[in-house]
Amino acid sequence: MYTDKISILLVESDPVERQYLESIFRTVKVPHGLSICESSQQLAEHLRYTQELPHLILLSANLPDISKLGYFKKLRESIKPHSCTLGVYSKETATDGIRDLFASGLNIYIEKPADPSLLDKIIKEVVSVNWQYMTDGLDRERFILKY
């Protein structure tokens, strides 16, 4: 599949974090478009009315709804796995519960590193891997990454 660019949707309620992540995305070389939602409600609205789903949705684990069991299952039910990648980033280390998140349709779990340059590297890698899945038509069922 040849797509001109990858569309990314960032969901982050903290304005400082948002600004910081936006600055990282500005340095990503893979051609992309970045949209932002400030809450899970805004995300739901966006998904309800959008004509084209984003290729990658990256959510902050700090959003209140995210911690609820079954959130990703519901979110995944509304977006087809073969067209959209779901990723979450958190300050917390992945626990045993992460198996359930991946089983619910999550593709990427990022434990935010303390070193900002490392997060920069991770974000770039996530976009690059996603780009490869899109352009090479790889099986997204096996698209599971943990950082």
Partner: protein, 183 residues
């Protein structure tokens, strides 16, 4: 009921190409992977309709030289690992010889189009194959390491962990858990 399918993308692509070319009554020869030679002149209208028909399957005509070169690089790499016939010479020399272009040009084009180096692509391709073999073909790590030309199981496991964040067995368990929970 849910079933899992395994498919060879190249064979599928060739089958669809053949079906569509027949549908439009175009005489053709399929050359290698991903190349069609038209045996007659076809109208622009038919050509446009043919392109549109292929787009439904996410198959696109490559009309950009760099993109074409990159697809050729990928096809050479994929064929080597699928047929399990790695060259005795260095991969860079093999690609140069096979594609008749300097490795410098190949590497530059690859980064421009794919935003990763050929070496990174090969590593990621091998790990994707390893995932496929673990999850769909149920091969052992020793068999996978041998098929993908890793020097040892430890080398495979280390690279797998570096790329995916999981040990191979952990990944296999996770995929089984995922399948059971989504059945």
């Amino acid at each position: 009921m849910k079933v899992y399918v395994k498919c060879n993308i190249e064979d599928t692509c060739r089958a669809i190409l053949g079906e569509q070319l027949d549908r439009f009554g175009i005489r053709y020869t399929l050359i290698g992977s991903g190349c069609v030679q038209f045996e007659e002149v076809i109208s622009m209208h038919t050509y446009q309709e043919f392109i549109t028909a292929l787009q439904r399957y996410n198959i696109h005509i490559l009309d950009n030289n760099k993109t074409l070169l990159v697809e050729k690089i990928k096809a050479v790499v994929i064929a080597l690992y699928r047929l399990n016939k790695l060259p005795l010479i260095k991969m860079s020399s093999y690609l140069e010889e096979k594609l008749g272009t300097s490795y410098r040009t190949l590497a530059k084009s690859f980064v421009e189009v794919c935003h990763m180096s050929i070496e990174e692509y090969i590593i990621r391709y091998k790990i994707e194959r390893a995932k496929e073999m673990l999850v769909n073909e149920f091969l052992t790590l020793t068999e996978i390491a041998h098929t993908l030309h890793y020097s040892s199981v430890a080398h495979l496991s280390n690279q797998f962990k570096k790329v995916t964040g999981f040990c191979p067995k952990e990944f296999q368990g996770l995929m089984q858990y995922k399948r059971i929970n989504t059945a």
